[in-house]
Amino acid sequence: MVRKIIDDIEKSIRETAKKLLEEGKVDLIIGYTKGSIPLRSGPCFITDASKTDMLVWNQSCDLNLAKYLAKNDDRKIGIISKGCVGRAIVHLIVEKQLNRENITIIGIPCEGVLNRAKIMVEIGDKEIIEADIEDDKIIIKGKDFNKTLPLQDYINQLCITCHYKIPPISDIILGNKKPEKPLKDDFKDLNEIESKSSKDKIEYFKKELNRCIRCYACREACPMCYCTLCFIDQNKPVWFGKTADISDNFIFHMIRAFHVAGRCVSCGACSSVCPMGIDLNFITRKLEKIVKERFDFESGISLEVLPPMGTHKFDDKQEFMIEED
């Protein structure tokens, strides 16, 4: 059933893209295409209506394609948008980074993407030669092994808690599935880490961030990281250390997190692209909770509401700035 829904969406993505290009409504379609290894997809840029069969849609489509949009791009662009891609577009419009009129948002419902890092840990350094997703199973084939994993356990945690499966704003919506009512997010998934002592928390952060090699794939994949010069690249004078030492890694990831607070659309691209399999979602998810609780704000939902970091109210809660413990 799930498989059929996904295949149908893929089919309509191709048809819609073809039609939009043929009718001259867009100059370019940005979508997903198959990667050269199993469970990997990549971005796809199509200007030729005869090539829309390159477009795919499946649970390995983990990039946030909004990254490929830019303010100074004059082309008319149709973009395949799952919920979080749509949210990123909306938020970027709010931050005046995109021209709404140039973008055709082709909304598709998304049931979540795979957590490839978790699968790799489970498989244990073996090469996956073939991977298939049936309804609730991931079927993995290697040279001398076959493994079936329950799909639900390997869906990205952010996708499980995501309650915007389709973009909040779309020009075209594909797929028959009616959007479900947004679930109430109780942030229960954070209980485990929140209940840890400060010492255990820091140990957990260290364990994760120790592996960082500073390739900046997280930053480069993040639709909200569009600064011309990132704080970490400031070198006249140098602001922060650029080594892969744990203290420098910690500072980089925490400050980047501060910079996306109230802006992060919980797409999980930062974690998905990490070659070292670092789970960065634990930081972004906590930020999402703080922003929701403190400012009752969710990024990328409305074109009208200004984000907390982009506005100021005299009654903004600020006890955290003077809080002592």
């Binding site: 890092a117 480069e220 080594t243 692209v273």
Partner: protein
């Protein structure tokens, strides 16, 4: 050439013996990721692995490399040199990664200025390589002068066969080393012929990419070809491909100062994929967009290396394919080069 063997169960004995004389590095699995680390406990080594996430170059060329330390004194500054590099064995390095070591040697000793740090380490490192019984589908070592059992750049090559590891020396250094290890016994002559056949079978099963031997001349005419735009448009501009490449060796040098007047000069990994890499003090940047950066990676390995050192700057490990966040595949670039160059010629 000396051929020896040891039962797999006794690998700890071999490691313990090596540890008496050497610092031993080997593949270790941490949080599901295989990396080359110093082996303190022989049980930590994970020899049943396909290839490490970060190439073994991290031993020779660490992510943070102290060049020297210093301390401010009443009169001037005192320079504190690094302690001498200990004799080191890297056990279980794959032939592709060891080929990377050979390329490091060429690069860091080329021309007028030598890199004493790297060259001294290379002198003190003995490579005990491990042949690949299961090359990945992304491997193409045989297309770039390598092979899953290539002995050229290791001192000793291990081949796993049944319950044993077979060791074969390929340098004097390697021969001297395995001759004196007591836990090794003479190789079972009956198995050696079978091993040779096994090696040949595995090697010939790796698909060969045609035309890589002449890729540098084809690239000569493609610098301004539109193909680079196609590759650049999806690239995120991260450093995964280069940082995880066994031959990429670019670095940045910086000083870390402490408030007490002491500090160190370090070099850290840097990459041509970052805009800052080519930013000049004047403010001019010759590679402002992704296109020239994407192209640079290919030209450096497949055009400048052959021209400068008469060797391809790629060992075919496939890490850039596996780890690219956007699924870019260097083999597709080879294909574009082939197609574009035949078009240009025609």
């Amino acid at each position: 050439m000396v051929q020896k063997m040891i039962s797999k169960e006794k690998i700890s004995d071999l490691i313990k013996e090596l540890q008496k004389e050497f610092k031993v590095f080997g593949p270790v699995k941490e949080e599901g990721v295989v990396l080359f680390k110093e082996i303190t406990d022989a049980k930590e080594i994970c020899l049943d692995y396909s290839n490490s996430k970060i190439p073994a170059k991290s031993v020779l060329f660490p992510m943070i490399d102290t060049l020297f330390s210093y301390k401010k004194e009443e009169k001037g500054v005192k320079i504190i040199e690094n302690p001498p590099y200990e004799k080191t064995v890297i056990l279980g390095i794959r032939p592709c990664d060891s080929m990377g070591f050979s390329l490091f040697k060429i690069f860091f000793s080329f021309g007028k200025y030598k890199d004493p740090l790297i060259l001294n380490r290379l002198e003190n490192i003995t490579l005990i390589g491990m042949g690949c019984l299961e090359p990945r589908t992304t491997c193409f070592c045989t297309s770039v002068n390598g092979g899953p059992f290539n002995k050229e750049s290791v001192d000793v090559l291990i081949t796993e066969f049944k319950d044993n590891y077979y060791l074969e020396s390929s340098t004097d250094k390697g021969e001297a080393l395995i001759k004196k290890i007591k836990s090794l016994t003479d190789a079972d002559k009956g198995d050696l012929a079978k091993i040779e056949k096994l090696q040949k079978d595995i090697e010939s099963a790796i698909p060969v990419i045609k035309g890589l031997d002449s890729i540098h001349t084809k690239l000569d005419g493609l610098f301004d070809n539109p193909m680079w735009q196609l590759d650049a448009q999806g690239c995120l501009g991260c450093g995964a491909c280069t940082y995880l490449c066994p031959t990429c060796h670019c670095f940045d040098v910086l000083d870390e100062n402490k408030q007490d007047g002491s500090g160190r000069r370090i070099r850290i990994w840097d990459t041509c994929q970052f805009p800052l890499f080519t930013l000049e003090t004047s403010g001019h940047n010759p590679r402002t967009t992704k296109l020239p950066r994407v192209r640079q990676r290919i030209y450096h390995k497949f055009n400048y290396y052959p021209k400068n050192y008469n060797i391809i700057g790629c060992v075919g490990c496939g890490r850039c394919i596996i780890n690219c966040p956007v699924g870019s595949d260097i083999r597709n670039i080879f294909m574009s080069v082939e197609n574009s160059s035949s078009k240009t010629e025609g």
